[in-house]
């Protein structure tokens, strides 16, 4: 079985902790995206799986075998590098064939394998060229071809699409997805593009400062973010995170104070256990309903800036306490700058985060 399991892996460079106590398991045929801001340890994690970097602590288990001490060439892994890392002195065809040279198979069979992946990735016509003579998109495809030409335990991709333009990125994204779905191998893709993660991954692991903050399906991390960081990182426009004072809980509703205004927000029973004090209320910009004045329990703000986005309109509004709120409303709803907005948040899309940043849920 092609699986990857990381058990409490840690990597330190001198006194700097690049990855801390990361747990992750990837099932056969599953695609997991490592998503996080720059410098959070994504590449380091990937390099530890590949064996290019030695884990300071923890276990790396691939296909059921503990791999900690093994060098990369003995792990049978395919990896696509951020900058493709094609062999500059070899032709495209030789580049693709390279991983096969270490397996005991004949020339004819190698050629057949190369031809097969070249067909899948439309590289037939450029097999004789040198890496310096092909475009970025082609380089990217050659790197993928080199990875899928043999039958590895798992696939690792390090920001494979970051150097491509938007259009190419779209086509490559679906192409890679299609290729991977036929191979049923454990795959880890590193990216800092959440759209890429949301569209390619079966599950997403969100990292910050060397820690994995949450692992879950694209739907899960979007709909039930585990903490403030995940909530703010996933989704565009960003989730509104409003500082508030928690007063108490009753009747399925939490009473919170924004400035001087008390609002009752439907919330999970777990909120009842919360001590009164500071909380963060998270509401997605699309989860507000604009209602007439004098409706009970509204969040109020004044329109400051209107950004049409095609089918919808993004409104930047300011609350009475000076907080910034982003609201997305349908295009046909007309709002003017300076006009007060009264909004009710959708209870299903409203999150309460305790003072330590963790989501409070049942």
């Amino acid at each position: 079985m092609s699986t990857i399991e990381l058990r409490g892996i840690t990597k330190t460079f001198g006194s700097f902790v690049a990855v801390q106590d990361a747990d992750l398991s990837v099932a056969a045929g599953e695609v997991v995206c490592l998503l996080g801001p720059s410098g959070c340890g994504k590449t380091t994690t990937l390099r530890m799986i590949a064996g290019l970097e030695r884990a300071t602590a923890g276990d790396i288990v691939i296909a059921g075998r503990r791999m900690n001490g093994l060098p990369p060439q003995e792990r049978n892994i395919a990896m696509v590098f951020q900058f493709y890392a094609l062999y500059p002195a070899l032709t495209v065809g030789e580049n693709i064939a390279m991983p096969l040279h270490h397996q005991a198979i004949g020339k004819a069979e190698i050629a057949a394998h190369v031809a097969k992946v070249a067909d899948i990735l439309h590289l037939r016509d450029i097999l004789d060229r040198m890496p310096g003579q092909i475009s970025e998109g082609e380089k990217q495809r050659v790197a993928v071809a080199r990875a899928i030409v043999r039958d590895p335990n798992c696939f690792l991709f390090d920001e494979p699409l970051s150097r491509l333009d938007v259009e190419l990125r779209h086509t490559m994204r679906s192409q890679i997805k299609a290729v991977l779905s036929n191979l049923s191998r454990a795959t880890v893709i590193v990216t800092h593009d959440q759209l890429e993660a949301l569209s390619m991954a079966d599950r997403i692991a969100i990292m910050r400062d060397g820690r994995i903050e949450q692992v879950g399906s694209p739907h899960e991390v979007f709909a039930r973010p585990a903490n403030v960081f995940v909530a703010s990182f996933i989704g565009t426009p960003q989730m509104n995170l409003i500082e508030a004072e928690f007063k108490g809980y009753g009747d399925g509703k939490a009473t919170v104070t924004f400035g001087r205004q008390d609002v009752n927000i439907p919330a999970a029973p777990a909120v009842a256990a919360l001590a009164p004090g500071r909380v963060t209320v998270g509401v997605r910009p699309r989860a507000f309903t604009v209602v007439p004045k004098d409706t009970a329990d509204t969040i109020d703000a004044v329109t400051e800036l209107i950004e049409p986005m095609g089918a919808e309109t993004l409104i930047h509004a300011r609350t009475r306490t000076g907080g910034d709120i982003r609201v997305v409303i349908p295009r046909d709803k007309k709002v003017k700058v300076g006009e007060p907005l009264h909004m009710i948040p959708d209870p299903m899309q409203t999150h309460i985060f305790a003072a330590d940043g963790k989501a409070v849920r049942a």
């Binding site: 290019l52 060439q73 792990r75 890392a85 270490h102 080199r146």
Partner: protein
């Protein structure tokens, strides 16, 4: 004419002669500067083919041909190859029959000693440089600095203990002795040069090769080395030039059988008691230039890339 052009093209001159691209003005300016730099070499070559009597004539003879009457007769000399033959065999003190001078042997020595030690230094230094670059030790920079310090002392200071040690272990006057000495001499420079070339390479490609199943050795030979060919060529040529021209160590450490050309040249010129034979000296120098010139010429393509590494590429 067609045959002519193809010869020039074959040895690579058509590329260096991009007059159309550079324009005549710049080409002439460069030609002028090059001529100034080349003048001493030209002077030596002309002296080598002058009759001995004209070596120091005033006014000096300037050209072996009158260039179709362009140069007045008093500046023209009749070229001769006599000096070259007397490099290898000539009449020694007191007249009589011409005797072999042993210079064939000295040229052989120079070639063997220089190439053996530079190649040895290149092999050892490249391996060491790869280690320093890819598998840094604790205190890597300190080690590199210490290696550099071996070149900080002037040769004249180093040579005394070297002579004493060589005597003690019997390396004086042997090929092995001078080759080892030159290898050590070249090693520091080779390590520093090659390390900078390795540092410039993207390690991703090596990582990729490792993941694709290559062992460390294979990564080094198949992936890394082909990318630093230019660096190897540049290091080889620089080392060769330094070693080829080295005089002091050779003077004090080689024996009569292992003498190199610079030492022999010195002795040929100062022996005989008839004052300096300038035309003979010029003939030896001309011959002495040829091997390094050839090596440099054949490696020039790599050299240019090696020397401009890091400036052009980035």
């Amino acid at each position: 004419m067609a045959a002519d052009t193809s010869i020039w093209q074959r040895i690579g001159f058509h590329r260096s002669f991009g007059v159309a691209e550079a324009g005549w003005g710049r080409t002439l300016a460069v030609a002028g500067v090059s001529f100034v730099y080349f003048l001493p070499v030209l002077f030596i070559i002309f002296t080598a083919i002058k009759p001995q009597a004209l070596a120091l004539s005033v006014p000096p003879t300037l050209s072996p041909t009158s260039l179709f009457g362009l140069i007045p007769d008093q500046f023209v000399f009749t070229p001769t190859l006599e000096n070259f033959s007397s490099v290898f065999s000539r009449v020694m003190t007191g007249g009589g029959q011409p005797e072999p001078t042993g210079f064939d042997r000295f040229f052989f020595n120079s070639i063997v000693i220089a190439s053996a030690s530079v190649l040895l230094a290149l092999v050892l230094g490249t391996l060491a440089a790869y280690g320093f670059s890819r598998y840094p030790l604790k205190g890597n920079d300190t080690y590199l600095f210490i290696i550099l310090t071996t070149r900080m002392l002037p040769a004249i200071v180093v040579i005394i203990p070297v002579i004493l040690m060589f005597r003690a272990v019997g390396l004086s006057g042997s090929y092995l002795g001078i080759i080892l000495l030159y290898t050590a001499f070249n090693l520091a420079f080779t390590i520093w040069m090659m390390k900078s070339f390795f540092d410039e390479l993207s390690t991703d490609v090596e990582d990729a090769a490792r993941i694709d199943g290559s062992s460390g050795t294979r990564v080094f030979f198949r992936i890394c080395l082909p990318q630093v060919v230019a660096g190897l060529a540049a290091t080889f040529v620089f080392g060769l030039i330094l070693t080829w021209n080295e005089f002091l160590f050779a003077l004090l450490v080689t024996g009569p059988d292992t003498r190199t050309v610079p030492v022999a040249m010195n002795q040929a010129v100062s022996s005989g008691g008839r004052g300096t034979d300038w035309t003979l000296l010029a003939a030896i120098e001309t011959l002495f230039l040829i091997p390094v010139f050839l090596v440099t010429f054949f490696l020039q393509e790599h050299l240019l890339r090696g020397v401009t590494f890091g400036t052009v590429r980035k």
